[in-house]
């Protein structure tokens, strides 16, 4: 019964909290909210050990027959194989740390219990997504995380802007979800099943490589992944999703939601392998997204939006790796990214709380002395995100992707170029943020030093962000492949087009130099010669360009012009249609009659009598007339 317990605990916690959070004490709410995720983390570790001990044999559990009709069956079936174990561990452990942090961050909020209930539900839905054995159950979890993101982004619902952001996240991801639903229908139409293992086994028998139908299905699946993972062209919801509380952002960006797309593509890798066109599309989307989001991150003023664009950019790296067929590299980057992005978000949350909910980086500064603990963990997170060589987890995962984007069969020099340029951008935007926040002169007073509840999860994540990289080292540096070995039963190894140690060294050197160069540029930009940069940036074209980048390449405005406004226009036309006129006319007629009748009720007795008399005369006249006719 073990696998089913993993999502069961968070769901149980969510139910309990929803029913009674107003009636129990805050400490009880804390225990339920964190304990449920903590318990499922423990069970996940046990299950992982079981799977590892059984020679990586997947653990399959049938819980309940969900749907059973002729020709179709779907169950609540959980499958723990190497891939879902990795995701489950990251979701539960990082999720648990985020929950603990959230109890400190949200403790004074009046809707504390509602918050933890939604967070539990979020974790539970994500666990269902990664553990599902058939695509229908996966889709249930998929929609579940969509719902929870809506609930949590709009958590502070009294501000209309937050509701707008929540609605936007819900609707934009729904576009991708529709594509994915169509892909599911097509898969069922052609294969007669939605069981993932059966699909992966039988798809190569049914379709040749490059068959148009399998390309269509892969592209539709990619559409779903693009929506959830906030890739081009559906990335616009993620920066706005920063309206939610900071622990929510950490959860969405690190452990749940945006990684769902990466999981889906990795899980359905056979379908993607059958369609080179879809793989190329995935790689191109990843490469373009990582550059566009990196450039946008460069000019943001809000600390959380920098991190949001950085997530889009890093997920772009994962898509690039998936598109090149480097499946395990993408998952490896997902793991390290989960650690350091959760760390960065929660570090940013600590800064925001310390400065009394100030999010503008240009109003921060000089925090190095005032928040030394946060300074160090933030430095570790930034270093990992920038991929500082040798000592950070981000280096090992990102360099693997950059190298494979060239060397793999699906790779291309252009992908590699996008990857290393992305490394430069990452260094620049990350350390621009870092220098703005922690160096220079203080512009806002520190109100509140974050307590141990918030800091301890950060320390743990800081350690993980550093050491998690050592489980997978490249050929050039020791050649440890624990992680890809672990995933080998589920995900095929990457096909190499060229194996050249010298080229790999060169690639690593270039990306490391560019990452460090990015840091140096940020240093010059923010600290050494800010005036020169200000002069450069206030040149006429620059001002417009910066605004353009800050608004996320005006994708929002594009959608507004292409979709929203025509839709509103059409719905306005439709509002005045003929059928409605009939109903409106009926309503107006009734109202007019009512007004006439209401006037007769004057309260003057003699009018009433007059009415009675007239009525009596009328009835008598009719009667007499009828009698006359009959006789």
């Amino acid at each position: 019964m073990l696998p089913a317990l993993i999502p069961a605990f968070p769901f149980l916690g969510a139910c309990l909290l929803m029913l009674c959070w107003k009636r129990v004490s805050r400490s009880a709410v804390t225990v339920i909210g964190c304990g449920s995720v903590g318990l499922s983390a423990i069970v996940a570790l046990v299950v992982a050990a079981t799977v590892a001990g059984a020679g990586k044999e997947p653990l399959v559990q049938h819980v309940w027959q969900w749907i059973q009709v002729p020709g179709f069956a779907a169950g609540i079936d959980f499958r723990m194989d190497a891939l879902s174990v990795v995701f489950t561990l990251v979701i539960t452990i990082v999720g648990f740390l985020i929950h603990v942090y959230a109890t400190g961050y949200m403790h004074d909020d009046e809707d504390y219990g509602r918050f933890l209930a939604c967070m539990n539900l979020f974790v539970g839905a994500m666990l269902v997504l990664v553990m599902a054995d058939n695509l229908l159950l996966l889709y249930l979890g998929w929609e579940g995380v969509g719902l929870c993101s809506y609930l949590l982004i709009g958590f502070w619902y009294k501000d209309p802007a937050n509701n707008y952001a929540a609605r936007k996240a819900f609707l934009v991801t729904r576009v991708g979800d529709t594509a994915m639903a169509i892909a599911l229908f097509l898969l069922f139409e052609y294969m007669g099943t939605l069981n993932i293992q059966q699909l992966l086994r039988e798809a190569p028998l049914l379709w040749d490589k490059g068959d148009p139908m399998v390309t269509l299905i892969a592209l539709l699946l990619l559409g779903g992944a693009v929506g959830k993972s906030a890739q081009l062209p559906l990335q616009t919801w993620l920066p706005d999703a920063m309206a939610g509380p900071t622990p929510v952002s950490a959860l969405i960006h690190a452990a749940t939601m945006v990684t769902a797309g990466v999981y889906l593509i990795a899980r359905m890798h056979v379908v993607f392998e059958l369609s080179p066109a879809a793989q190329t599309a995935t790689a191109i989307i990843g490469a373009v997204t990582l550059l566009m989001a990196g450039v946008s991150a460069l000019v943001q003023t809000d600390i959380k939006r920098v991190l949001a664009y950085s997530t889009i950019s890093q997920i772009g790296y994962m898509f690039l790796a998936l598109g090149c067929g480097a499946w395990s590299a993408a998952i490896f980057h997902f793991v390290t990214h989960a650690f350091f992005k959760a760390l960065l978000f929660m570090g940013a949350g600590a800064v925001i709380v310390a400065l009394h909910h100030e999010q503008d980086m240009f109003k921060m500064g000089g925090l190095k002395k005032m928040l030394p603990g946060v300074f160090w963990i933030f430095l570790i997170g930034c270093a990992s995100l920038t991929a500082i060589p040798f000592v950070t987890a981000g280096f090992y995962s990102k360099d693997q992707i950059i190298w494979l984007s060239w060397a793999a069969v699906g790779g291309h020099k252009a992908y590699w170029l996008a990857g290393v340029l992305g490394a430069l951008l990452t260094g620049m935007y990350t350390f621009r943020m870092f220098f703005l926040v922690f160096y220079g002169e203080a512009k806002t007073k520190v109100h509140h030093i974050p307590g141990a509840v918030m800091m301890v999860p950060l320390y743990i994540l800081a350690v993980l962000s550093t050491i998690a990289g050592f489980i997978e080292l490249p050929h050039t540096l020791g050649h440890v492949t624990l992680f890809s070995n672990w995933l080998a039963p589920v995900l095929p190894a990457v096909q190499m087009a060229q194996e050249s140690v010298a080229l790999e060294w060169a690639s690593q050197l270039i990306s490391a130099v560019l990452a460090l160069g990015g840091i140096w540029l940020a240093y010059v930009w923010v600290l050494k010669r800010p005036q020169g940069m200000v002069d450069f940036l206030s040149m006429p074209g620059q001002v417009w360009l910066q605004g353009f980048w800050r608004r996320g390449w005006d994708i929002d405005a594009l959608y507004d012009a292409l979709i929203v406004r025509p839709f509103v226009y059409l719905s306005n036309i439709n509002r005045k249609d003929l059928i409605d006129k009939i109903y409106t006319g009926a309503a107006q007629l009734t109202e007019a009659c009512h007004n006439v009748m209401a006037r007769t009720q004057s309260g003057i007795l003699r009018w009433y009598i007059m009415g009675v008399v007239l009525g009596a005369v009328a009835i008598l006249s009719v009667l007499i007339w009828r009698l006359h006719e009959i006789s």
Binding site: A598, Q601, S602, G603, I604, L605, R606, I609
Partner: protein, 102 residues
């Protein structure tokens, strides 16, 4: 002109009824309106009695007994209402009592 007794009685009843009706309609004093209603009731009663004698059956006379009883009850309730009305409004003008208009 030689009228049949029944016709004459029904004519009288009709005239009385119309007189009472007109009086109800044009009077404002609520006591007079009540009186007029009584006249209309009696006109109806007369019609019943005439009809009973025309067909040689006692039903109409029994009906008149009912009308009398009902009129007595109605007058008692009506007078009570009039007293209350006067108490509240200090007038007997029925048009003044138009608070229940829609």
């Amino acid at each position: 002109m030689n009228l049949h007794p029944t016709t004459a009685g029904l004519l009288l009843a009709g005239i009385l009824f119309v007189l009472g009706l007109i009086s109800v309609l044009i009077r404002r004093n609520i006591i007079f309106m009540l009186l007029s209603v009584e006249i209309m009731l009696n006109a109806a009663g007369l019609a019943f009695v005439v009809a009973a004698s025309h067909w040689g059956q006692a039903d109409g006379q029994v009906m008149f007994m009912f009308i009398l009883a009902m009129a007595a009850a109605e007058v008692s309730v009506g007078l009570a209402l009039i007293l209350q009305l006067y108490h509240q409004l200090r007038t007997l003008d029925s048009d003044e009592a138009s608070r229940m208009n829609g």
